[in-house]
Amino acid sequence: MRITCPFCGERELGEFTYLGDAKPQRPAADAGEDAVYNYVYLRDNIAGVMSEHWYHGGGCRAWLKVTRNTLTHEISAVEAAAGAGAAKVGA
């Protein structure tokens, strides 16, 4: 598999680490135990197109959101995580 990192270009799978489903959002501090439980443990196991977190540890260390078909391994989109890349000075 090859992933096109927005910073580094098309690179080989061995440079990346898989984390998993990118859909769940970390709940706010006051969201309560059930919300955090869902966030930590509940995952869809999708046979098809899925949004996933990948880490380019063998390259720029960016966390990426990769849209991948789990049946064909076809990657249709790669975007950097919101906080990847340069510091948000003045943001």
Partner: protein, 993 residues
Amino acid sequence: MAGDQANRLTSGGLIDRSTALSFRFDGKNFLGFKGDTLASALVANGVKLVGRSFKYHRPRGILTAGSEEPNALVELRSGARREPNTKATTAELYEGLEAASQNRWPSLNFDVMSVNQLFSPIFVAGFYYKTFMWPAKFWEAIYEPAIRRAAGLGRAAGVSDPDHYDKAWAHCDVVIAGSGPAGLAAALAAGRSGARVILCEEDFVVGGRLLADGGAIDGLPAAEWVARAVAELAAMPDVRIMTRTSLFGVYDGGTYGAIERVNDHLPVPPEHQVRQRLWRIVAKRCVVAAGAIERPVVFAGNDTPGVMMASAMRSYINRYAATPARRIALFTNNEDGWRTAETAIAAGLQVAAVIDARPDVSPAHRSLASKGGFPVLHGSVSGVDGGKGGVRKISVSLTGGARAEVEADGLAVSGGWNPAVGLTSYHRGRPKWRDDIAAFVPDGAPPGMVAAGAANGAFGLGACLREGFEAGAAAARDVGRSGNIGSMPVADDEAFSITPLWHVAGKGKAFVDQQHDVTASDVELAQREGFQSVEHLKRYTTLGMATDQGKTSNVAGLAIMAAVSGKSIPETGTTIYRPPYVPVAIGAFAGHHRDENFHATRLTPSHHWAAEQGAVFVDTGLWKRAQWYPRAGEKDWLESVTREVKAVRNGVGFCDVSTLGKIDVHGPDAGAFLDRVYINAFSSLAVGKARYGLMLREDGIVYDDGTTSRLAEDHYFLTTTTAKAGLVMQHLEFCRQVLFPELDVQLTSVSDQWAQFSIAGPKTRDLLKEVVDPAEDLSNEGFPFMGAREVQLCGGLKARLFRISFSGEMAFEISVPARYGEAMARNLMIAGKPFGVTPYGTEALGVMRIEKGHVAGPELNGTTTAGDLGLGKMMSTKKDFIGRVMAGREALVAPNRQVVVGIKPTDKARRLRSGAHIIPKGETPGPENDQGYVTSVCFSPMLDQWIGLGLVERGRERIGEIVRAHDPLRSEDYDVELCNSVFYDPDGGRQRG
């Protein structure tokens, strides 16, 4: 006759007659020529019997002339280089080649195990599952070893492979598998367009079937056209022709696996060269021009030496000028098979008869028969009379029911051609059936791949060139190459007609899979026993599971299954295709990653100095760390470690702790960021101070710990454990980039940038004063416990100094740029000499941390909470942090959790062992009474006894209680006391002093 190349034609062939090569087969000397394979040289020397079969030890000869060979497997080379199951049909001949036949004892001619044939009823399909089932213990002791000796392939060398293997990457626009007419035409079109092309050819000569079958292309004899095409391609700077290279696999994203047999054609690879190289080729497009494989017809005795594929016979005669037989019978069901009769006659050999299963034979062939003086029999071969000496007589069932016999010493068989659909069918592709050629052809292919020529079911030479050229041009166009592709090579198409024929009924064993000895009746038996699905058929009979992966047998097997189950062939379908297409040595997959290079080795900055000191090293992850420094006269490790601990506790010692993960955290939100990843607060940490921090996973379990210092308002220096250095960096980057992108903070891994030493003991300050610039205030007031700041060393070097202690002694950790690490160690030794400075290793480090009750890896084991470790009070209630909510779950705060506690045997002389289970006094050891276990132990020089830490149910409430340490692995059971986990200097006065 053997040994004199009696079966070599006096002229012709692509062999270099000026270079004779001597070789040995089963201890006998032979001669061949450069350009031969082992198989062609054996054919030239009249050797027909080359091996015994897998289960029945039947005599076997050479069936094919390529990588699809099921029978002619040999042990090539000897000693450490002995390579079993090597195909004689692809092994290039070299001077001094040594090969031995397999599966026979004591000799190929007289094989004791051929009595297996008498017991053949027990070797039928599924015999592994049916026989030898009882008693169970007999399987391992008796049945399996006996079966393995009787039924098996070659022997592995049994010793380490002395050769090197390499792994390499290549990138191109178009990779082409196969250099026959389709592959060459594809390469020409793509290359002329300006595309970057890699052309892989498994043979050592370019040309594919053109080498054996000739023909005319663009008005030139095939050989001349090939030479011209190769010259044109060689002149293109972006075209690379790789011979001896098989494309064996297709992986995601246009990545292809290829194995290059760099030096298999030499006795030993030249110095500093590899034997094989595993390529990963990244290509935008792939043209599969892998050709087709001629298939046998299944009939009784079809495994007799001398029965050979018709196309293979042409290869031996035309390419190698070697004649497999003198009087050849041909059995064909298609037009193409007749070419062998033409070749035989052209070579001056006798044709005994052509047995054609089709109703009609063309007038041209009829006139060939009358000119050649041989009969054309309409019908099928139903039996072969012969043995280890080869074919003698052939029985023919004539159309209409009559029988005939043909005397011949060789039988050429053509059952039609199967396109090589392996590569196109990876990624779970399923080929589709084409009635007109009675074969499976690709039905689509993995992304970016297309089949052309015979691999696509286009068997005519003209069609191969056309499809190849068009595929090459299209591939180049797809990747944006638009150069002038010139004119397409042109040739005539041969006529093709076929009457499908898979199996001819007859008396005796009729083999479908010759390598695994699977017969037609095994397939029929599988059907009767309910194993009708092709996937079941494969596993029940082992059809197609041998090293040839059923290249000559799979289609026949499923066709027979289709016939007996009353289904069509497409309804029956194919099994799933999986790489590798040809066997690939494990050594090639490993490449240089073996032995001491299995993984990278990381050396600490002071490694070479430590080695000079005679340190014993221990592997911790990829690191080599000094474990202890033995001195002359010390009788064991314990004596050395005890000395090191005492030296630190009474004087001063130092230890390289550079393996800790080190991360610089910069930015205005650095403090806020650390507040969210640690359970305790860091935004409140004063500049110039250090603090111990604990991280949880989001599920509330402890993840890692370490000391983090604030060097400036917007700059923290964070340390991790050695084991988690990389993972914590990844985790923190996730927190920064994904969870908290709103924070203005940056992380920099500086683990490799800083050499870090722990200097510990009451004389630490004395030693440091010799190293640190006198202007720096190191007094308790000027540099208090948990202080952290940059200092200047004598000589001007800037260092980071932290007053932190893992040993419980007055201690500092000092960081210098990594390139000064070794000099720092040497300098500490010199400067510390007056104070008796002692280097200490990880063992002494571990002893002192256990004496102080500090938790480490055995306690941070992925199951413990902060509370379990006695650090629950560190959890801030004023902020959110990773793991906060889940850490509050009922079971994670239950009062009966196993928590860290000190443990010491009541008998002071007793050795405590980690792993021992804690059982209450008076209870029976067992899961129901198991209250925890010992996690870390050491011999404490300060307490003069073995001590340890453990995770024990309600441990901290039970200080003083005597319990049992039950250790069934070591058959030990003894009393221990639960105690305070801080064994030494419990009020911590020493480290603050």
